[in-house]
């Protein structure tokens, strides 16, 4: 028992194993903390900030913050809901997210998060950025209009596939995903079986030949 950490989330007592993050302990305890960039099989880096919780009065990302004895975590509060809504609202206007004809509609974590947070219409003006589409790879369609810069593909390609096909370039609002080639995705070592091809939360990295094959209403988000 002594190697267990005890803390609270919204007043509910939660046990964590040493080294676990708040997110991992919450998941084990069946408490949902909203998240977007986090993927359980990849290194967390807290980039989207959607999982921000208040730890002993200070904001921290639950996916990177280790659980500690006695910490008081606030998760499901009106302030944090508003904060998460703002973040997701910004993601929508910073990209070109046209759910109405996106092949991942109904199976998209960004869209699902918007529904969960009760976002029905954009709050901020659209940026309409000029983002590239790379359809050169025979098995993969890369659509960066929909990228939310979660970094999952970067980590998966580097840590799991050992390839480093994707990386971030630029800073701030100009930050974007680029492929490890002067040319296009087809000129990289990317394969459709790579982990990097399986983890995109939105419709940015898509397997060709799968679009709209799942009937509307039986897709993952509808089942949830």
């Amino acid at each position: 028992m002594s190697d267990q950490i005890t803390f609270t989330i919204d007043g509910v007592e939660v046990k964590a194993k040493p080294g676990q993050t708040i997110m991992q302990a919450a998941d084990d305890a069946g408490i949902y903390i909203p998240r977007l960039c986090y993927h359980p099989e990849l290194t967390a880096h807290g980039s989207c900030r959607v999982c921000t919780v208040i730890v002993n009065g200070k904001p921290q990302t639950a996916c990177t913050q280790p659980a500690a004895e006695g910490m008081i975590v606030e998760n499901d509060t009106p302030e944090l809901l508003e904060h998460r809504r703002n973040l997701v609202d910004m993601l929508f206007v910073e990209g070109n997210h046209l759910c109405m004809f996106c092949e991942r509609s109904g199976n998209c974590e960004l869209q699902a998060m918007a529904y969960r947070l009760g976002i029905l219409a954009p709050k901020y003006p659209y940026f309409y950025p000029d983002k590239p589409v790379d359809s050169t790879h025979k098995d993969i369609f890369l659509e960066l209009n929909r990228c939310i810069l979660c970094g999952r593909c970067v980590n998966a390609s580097k840590d799991v596939d050992g390839k480093g096909v994707f990386d971030f370039v630029g800073r701030s609002i100009d930050k974007k995903i680029a492929v490890n080639s002067d040319k296009n995705l087809k000129d990289t070592t990317m394969a459709v079986t790579d982990k990097a091809a399986q983890v995109c939360p939105v419709g940015s990295i898509n397997k060709k030949g799968t679009a709209f094959k799942i009937p509307y209403g039986s897709d993952i988000e509808h089942k949830k």
């Binding site: 109405m100 092949e103 309409y128 060709k208 679009a211 709209f212 509307y216």
Partner: protein
């Protein structure tokens, strides 16, 4: 940085008559109507902005063109994409599921048009006071009929949902097939109501037929003129609303061309651009730009086909053709009667399909050798719909050409409006209430997919302007 990428597109406010039908009537020196121009903002830019998109997105994307018959765009694009993925023949389940979707769309669209948009005209006569000649008037005087309209529309929409996934803007048809079959439960839910749908379709057909036959002499000249007719046709000459080859006939029934493989439509149809309209004017190449225009839709389909392959609709077709002694019917108001024959045909087809075990098959999608060009045509509720695409080696669209039903009927609108106007204005350059009403009735016969035309009967916003032979405005009236 970002400012330099911002583009502003300005559309002339005078032509952007949001939700209004805008008509210009040009007079000659003797104040007789020389030309009518029905202005339509059909400029949606889809052909341009889908360039660069992957081909598999197109059937889902292009249906956003229209909130009235999205299924037709969905299916026409899917048919073109079948060609792109190298498929010339779908599996029986895929073809029949798509057909079911299409007949469901035809049924709900025709029911909506009949009950909501045109029944007030047919029940009260188009001379009746607009205060009662509307859907509320119908609901008060014929309450059962208004309910039937709603229930028939719902039936068709539920079929769309069961085949496309959603009642509007579904995703069912995919390149090379369909993404679901029909479950036994779904099938049985439809079969339960089918008898009722037959009965209601028959009574709707009777209203349209009786009205036309009883008022034949008055309707014959109304907004009418001789025209050619064009539609898809099955190989044996039967009406086929989902697939076939192209047939065009002239106003006397002589074939201009027949059984033309529609992928070669560019050899037969040319689209003319006129400076005063956003909408192009298609015409039959071999007849030429002056006389090569044609009509599409229910009237054209009744005229072009040799027979209908469902018994009740075939019986109705024979009665329809008897009115013109077997010759093509060029009476514009007969569109309504023809539309109701198709309504009955659609429910007969739906019944046949629901009783077909292939709908429960599991072989949904196939794939062949990739191609770089695909053409898909379908008979949409309002007429022949053309979709044509080219892609590059990266699966991206490089060219799209769409000819929608309403564009095919473009010249016919102008002719109908001109005919009505000429009958009203004869030397006296004045726009009367009667003229405004009659223009609405004429346009409505075609069931055009215009935002102004989707307003209920008597409520179509219309702006009519009269120009003298020197181009001066002599009268203008707006009907809200």
């Amino acid at each position: 940085m970002s400012n330099s990428q911002t583009k502003r597109v300005v559309i002339e406010p005078v032509t952007r008559v949001e939700g209004h039908g805008k008509v210009s009537l040009l007079l000659d020196e003797n104040n007789k109507v020389k030309q009518a121009r029905f202005h339509v903002v059909e400029f949606r830019g889809f052909e341009r902005f889908i360039q660069g998109r992957p081909y598999w997105e197109v059937p889902v994307l292009v249906q956003r063109l229209c909130g009235i018959c999205p299924v037709s765009h969905h299916l026409a694009a899917a048919k073109a994409m079948d060609k792109i993925v190298g498929v010339d023949k779908l599996t029986p389940t895929a073809e029949k599921m798509r057909r079911l979707m299409h007949y469901g769309q035809m049924f709900q669209s025709h029911a909506l048009h009949f009950f909501h948009l045109c029944s007030p005209d047919l029940l009260f006569g188009f001379e009746a006071d607009p205060a009662i000649r509307n859907i509320i008037g119908v609901a008060v005087k014929y309450p059962d009929l208004a309910v039937q309209g709603v229930m028939m529309r719902k039936f068709g929409q539920e079929i769309i949902k069961a085949t496309a996934g959603k009642k509007i803007h579904g995703t069912g048809a995919i390149p090379g097939g369909i993404n679901k079959n029909l479950s036994i439960e779904e099938r049985d839910a439809f079969l339960k109501d089918i008898k009722q749908m037959y009965d209601w379709s028959k009574s709707a057909l009777k209203i349209a037929k009786d009205y036309t036959v009883q008022n034949l002499e008055k309707l014959k000249p109304f907004a009418s003129f001789d025209s050619s007719h064009l539609s898809l046709i099955r190989e044996d000459g039967a009406m086929d609303l989902y697939h076939g080859n192209l047939r065009a006939i002239d106003s006397t029934g002589k074939k201009i061309f027949d059984q033309v493989d529609y992928s070669k439509y560019l050899d037969y149809i040319v689209e003319e651009v006129k400076p005063w309209s956003y909408m192009k004017f298609p015409f039959i190449k071999q007849v030429g730009p002056k006389d090569g225009w044609y009509r599409v839709g229910p009237l054209a389909r009744l005229n072009t086909c040799d027979f209908i392959d469902t018994p009740l609709a075939e019986e109705a077709r024979k009665e329809f053709m008897a009115v013109t002694n077997g010759k093509p019917n060029n009476i514009t108001m007969a569109y309504h009667w023809a539309r109701m024959i198709e309504l009955l045909h659609s429910i007969e087809k739906i019944n046949d399909l629901l009783n077909d075990k292939d709908l429960q098959g599991t072989d949904l999608v196939i794939k062949g050798q990739k191609r770089y060009e695909g053409v898909g045509l379908i008979e949409a509720p309002r007429g022949t719909l053309f979709h044509h695409y080219k892609i590059n080696e990266n699966d991206q669209i490089t060219m799209a050409n769409l000819i929608v039903s309403t564009t095919n009927n473009n010249e016919a609108f102008n002719r109908s409006v001109q005919k009505v106007a000429a009958d009203h204005i004869d030397g006296v350059p004045k726009i009367t209430e009667g003229l405004l009403n009659h223009i609405e009735v004429a346009i409505r016969a075609y069931d055009p997919c215009l935002s102004c035309a989707t307003h209920a009967m008597g409520k179509m916003p219309l702006k009519v302007t009269l120009y003298d032979y020197q181009g001066n405005i002599v009268d203008s009236k707006t009907k809200e």
